[in-house]
Amino acid sequence: MPTKDLVTKVWIEPGCIVCDACETTAPTVFEVTDDTCIIRPAALNAEFTKPITQSIIDAAEECPVDVIKFDVAPVEVSEEQAAAMEAAAAAPKPAAVEHAAPATAAAPPAAKAAPTAVPGKTAEPATATAKTAPHAPVSVAGASDPAIAALLRAASSRGGNVMIQKRDESQGMSADAMKRTDPRELPADARQAMLLEAAKKAKDEGMTRRAFMSGAALGIGWVAFGVGTGVAVGPAFGRFMMPNVLEEPDPKVRVGKIQKYLEMQPGEVNEDYKPQGIWIIREEDRIAALSIICTHLGCIPNWLPNDRKFKCPCHGSGYKPNGINFEGPTPRPLERFNVNVEDGIVIVDKSKKYQWELGQWDQPGSFIQT
């Protein structure tokens, strides 16, 4: 197997002048963008660059600022491939021939083997290879092995056809067509023109001091107007949103004579004043008033006399008859209201509340001692 120095890695150092030469020479490897040149992602692979070694070398030599760098490594290739590479190295451009010549000389075994790539031809001296090479891709394009054919096409795709075709397209373009085309598809000069035009336009649209000042004045004027209107109208609007009369029942509820509560058994619950939001409960030696609002999320629990518990229908919180929570999600007991007796009548003051978790259930006013 012959050994050849093939490109395994190619990269670009800073300093590209965006001349487009490399993309023209090796369009599958280089992509010239608006401001620099990059290696196409596919070409970051050694297996991709190896077969097109020659076009990469050519592109590097053509580069006017020499920013294209590459690594080469000796690689064993089949004799057919070696021949094809020789052919490509010698082929299309006169300028390339003199660069390619040393390479040819450096690999005599490959050059000698070249004719075997062309079925039916007898072996020829190495010197003849260079002359016949330009025709080799054509004659071998129909090679029986498709892999070899593809390799040859890839090798011969540099320069030549691609370049000519590209120029034809861009020169045939109307100015309109150029504007519609993706800038990346345009040749370098057209792109440069577009950039210049865009820069000029941006400069023209730059703000003058006069325009800025008048704009700012207008903006400040509108903001001042908005704030002024808000200050003038806001309070009136806020007042409008408030009701003129706020109906609130008297927080003091008279819940009847104490006698009937004294007759209750401990643990019993009086539901007569539930519409006013009060349960009157009886403990061993106390009478107290429970709020009917569930301390979990504000539903109204039901008193279940058979189960001897308050049970909330919304999330299942449960309270003992004295209001202490024992099941479900509620975090704390029911709240108690202020109670006192005047002339034998029990009065519940809903504006004062006593919470168990704050230790307020023993405060005077939270219960009536019996």
């Binding site: 009917i292 999330h315 024992f326 978790e357």
Partner: protein, 365 residues
């Protein structure tokens, strides 16, 4: 027949139901290629429909599913089954194609359509069909009007609109501000954050499960288990006094339920250490903080050690790929999500009230 009903009632207790739902989802995700084949899917869908129709012979079941409020949820169950099948069927075909090195089903299809007439026509037709459907629905199923509202009486059970039943169910297990504000907020924030957390481009524009196992599994765990299953709980299984009832069970107002709450601080101080709850503060530390210290430590360990343990056990590669911040956000959202079923199961099994119960601050987790 009664035996079967008893059995189904038993597995529809919340804990077995949730476990079975998770197992079913796991099985479906593991066997999705086989289960989404048309024949298998037809057997599954037909079997469920048959089960549902037979169940309707039971008066208690019929009363619940035929309630006008609950009809959308019945439709939702079938719709979710259908759409799960539809998407996973296409994912199964695509995954097989990817493995065989063949083009995806979506490859080459140009799904661009013109607004006029294509889009406007189909929108207009959908609009007409849907209006007709809603009209028929409104005529056939009477709006479930109840007695005039009374601020002192709540209907028993008092149920949220069906699409909020998942949130209402969450409120049973957490403090109102957690379940009503923080967790729903985190759901929304988490959904908003998905594009920033999950930057994997796989699956864009084509159905696949194999390439997105973790993401799709997590999504379905959140959507099917923690949203749809909770809606099903709230609709079909929650009865009077917000107690759980089996699907064939009579909704008895006075069903005896032993639900006496257990507090985590009781379990720790009394159960584990065998001593009374601390009632004395120490210096500036109030007594309730000492009382709740074990719960706070447990939750702290869950949220601090959890990410590290998960990272070592499952997410080593994922964490490296995501980077610290993205991984932390993802794993925190995941842990908050997992806290839901953990707390639910604890409530169902040992009646655990709160892990941290600082009533003084209204902080109850």
């Amino acid at each position: 027949m009664e035996g079967i009903k008893e059995f189904i009632n038993a597995i529809c207790r919340p804990a077995p139901f949730l476990v079975l739902a998770i197992v079913a989802l796991g099985l479906f995700l593991a066997l999705y290629r086989k289960l989404t084949k048309p024949a298998a899917a037809a057997v599954l869908g037909g079997g469920f429909t048959l089960f549902f129709l037979l169940s309707c012979l039971d008066p208690n079941f019929q009363k619940i599913v035929a309630k006008a409020d609950n009809v959308p949820i019945v439709m939702m169950m079938f719709a979710i089954g259908y759409f799960l099948w539809l998407s996973f069927r296409q994912a199964a075909l695509n995954d097989a194609a990817i493995e065989a090195g063949q083009p995806l089903r979506e490859a080459g299809s140009d799904d661009k359509v013109l607004v006029w007439p294509d889009l406007v026509y189909s929108e207009f037709i959908s609009l007409i069909l849907f209006t007709a459907f809603l009209t028929v629905w409104a005529i056939v199923l009477r709006a479930p009007l109840e007695q005039p509202a009374d601020p002192n009486v709540a209907p028993n059970p008092a149920k949220a609109p069906w699409y909020f039943l998942g949130l209402q169910e969450m409120l049973v297990y957490f403090d109102p501000w957690l379940a009503g504000v923080l967790l729903p907020g985190l759901i929304i924030v988490g959904l908003v954050a998905i594009p920033y957390i999950d930057t994997n481009p796989r699956g864009n524009g084509y159905y696949t499960f194999k390439e997105r196992r973790f993401a799709i599994t997590m999504f379905l765990a959140g959507f099917v288990i923690l949203w749809v299953v909770l809606i099903i709980f709230g609709t079909f299984l929650r009865g009077p006094n917000w107690n759980f009832f089996g699907p064939y069970e009579y909704w008895d107002m006075h069903k005896p339920m032993a639900l006496l709450n257990t507090e985590f601080h009781d379990l720790f101080w009394t159960g584990l250490l065998g001593r009374a709850l601390p009632t004395e503060g120490r210096g500036p530390i109030p007594a309730y903080l000492i009382r709740e210290a074990p719960g706070i430590a447990l939750l702290g360990a869950y949220f601090i050690l959890g990410p590290l343990i998960l990272r070592v056990l499952f997410f080593r590669k994922l964490a490296a790929k995501m980077g610290l911040i993205r991984y932390s956000v993802m794993v925190m959202l995941l842990l908050v999500m997992l806290l839901m079923p953990i707390k639910m199961v604890l409530r169902w099994t040992i009646n655990l009230h709160y892990i941290v119960g600082i009533t003084e601050w209204s902080l109850n987790v």
